[in-house]
Symmetry: C2
Subunit: 311 residues, 2 copies
């Protein structure tokens, strides 16, 4: 299946970022969004990210103008799309209706992927009359035009060939898809993120470390390590590598790790107003006098450079 035209539904940051990525890879995009002002917002966002995409010189066919905005009316335009990336609001009723319409409006073999982070696709395919087996989650890490991760999460009746087709397509636009085999809450990346964050919230709200030092701690240790090597491979290499590396590492590190986990459980962040205030106060202190727009530009420039090193 050759994919030349992608249908994008929804032009919030995620849908607009996907659109930019697809255009940069030389694809044609048909974009639908019923919201007033969506067309203007999309054009502005695409202009703002295009220089970053151009620096990556992704495809000789890349063109900022190779898209068509069709408002609410995807029904008349999606008969010829080869892949759909849906980015509508996270409301079950809305998605159920939308997927029934997408199922009816597209060729029956076309993959329909949802960017949803919160609702597994099995919950919104109930009205798909044609082929619910071509629906799955393709959840990006925000913003998708910069971050390579896509979590591909089939529902129990998604066809295996559809999962493979989605992974191939994401690879063809420079992403690194991973396969999540069950529709669990938060998938993988968000669960891992929240696991670390909740301990960070605890340490800062208890006054053990300032928010600024907590961020310095991560950007100077775990962040660079995990940009270079994943946590499990790092573990296994610490255990001497080889196929038994992880076993050796866990024999060595397990007792200490488990005692830390016990202490963390005993002092877990419980989201009380008092804890939230202490946490917010320290983060506000870190942000004082800083310009968020400047920080975002610096972060995005650094991200682009780190990710290009990894290629």
């Amino acid at each position: 299946m050759s994919i030349r035209t992608v249908g994008v539904v929804g032009t919030g940051v995620i849908g607009a970022s996907w659109t930019g990525l697809f255009l940069a890879h030389g694809l044609k995009v048909i974009v639908s969004d019923p919201a007033p002002g969506a067309e203007r917002g999309l054009a502005d966002y695409l202009h703002s990210i295009w220089p970053t995409l151009e620096r990556q010189k992704i495809s000789p066919h890349a063109s900022l103008t190779n898209y068509r905005f069709v408002g609410a009316n995807f029904k008349d335009h999606f008969a010829n799309v080869d892949f759909v990336q849906e980015n509508a609001p996270e409301r079950l009723e809305l998605k159920t209706k939308l997927f029934a319409e997408l199922d009816a409006a597209t060729r029956p073999d076309v993959v329909i992927a949802s960017s949803s982070s919160g609702i597994p696709s099995s919950r919104f395919i109930s009205e798909c009359a044609i082929n619910p087996a071509r629906v799955l989650i393709g959840h990006p890490f925000n913003p998708p035009h910069l971050m390579p991760l896509v979590e591909v999460v089939p529902h129990p009746k998604t066809a295996a060939s559809i999962t493979e087709a989605a992974k191939s397509f994401y690879k063809s636009v420079g992403r690194n898809p991973v396969h999540i085999r069950e529709e669990l809450p938060g998938f993988a990346a968000n669960r891992l993120q929240v696991a670390l964050l909740n301990e960070a919230y605890s340490l800062v709200s208890r006054g053990i470390i300032s928010a600024e030092d907590l961020d310095t701690c991560v950007t100077n240790s775990l962040g660079p390590r995990w940009a270079a090597t994943g946590p499990l491979l790092s573990n296994a290499m610490g255990g001497g590598g080889g196929t038994d590396g992880l076993k050796h590492a866990l024999e060595h590190l397990g007792p200490a790790s488990r005692s830390w986990l016990e202490d963390m459980k005993a002092h877990a962040f419980t989201w009380t107003p008092k804890e939230l205030d202490a946490l917010s106060a320290s983060v506000s202190e870190e942000l004082r006098g800083k310009d968020t727009k400047d920080l975002e530009r610096q972060r995005d420039d650094l991200l682009v450079e780190i990710l290009s090193l990894k290629k």
Copy 2:
């Protein structure tokens, strides 16, 4: 206080790596280790890391030979050191005796920092007769010649001026020290690491994602993000930045985060042999056919490049 000569005790990877870092910054180092073969092992390790340190062109006075190995006999050589970095084995009795001897062998105003990750310094200063207030933890992220983080953890009676002096010294050798205000188990970086790892172990041992995909997931999302911007600042920027950014982000993300945390708690990794076997099997599959030495070289090269981007 000008620091020209550092005393290093212990030449495992951490002590040897510290030695290389100090030499690269033009300092003189007196190295003590009672183990047979330690002198040879140190020389070999220093030779292996020197090209990496030279690429960073750290000091015009950097010299691979500017150290003296004194075996077990630091007592006769530490009277003139200006800072001590201790890296002996993690055994309480050994450290208690060692710190009494270091306290007696050095000038009373010299900072004595321990690289210990597992034993807080309040537990091994009981025999220090001269000045236990100059003892603290200076815990690096391994290996210290590459990773900038140092966790500075005073004990309740460490002088505030000593904590500041230790932070200044670590900054002078290009590290980014953070201040941990309580002697809690695992300090900060290891706790944050274990929080994420334990969820990774759960996801892989339950077969929800392969070890290889879990690592791909982190190296393509959280790792690069946290190399560029710490987790709390990322949160706050996601919430629109400004001093109330974190509050807005948590109002928006809190409910989902808390439901994921509940699900994670219900399916936490419990370190049973069956779970460990499933986890190890998937990591072994990831490592099959890969050369650990190659992987380490690639990782270290990438780390050096990422960290130099951040400067």
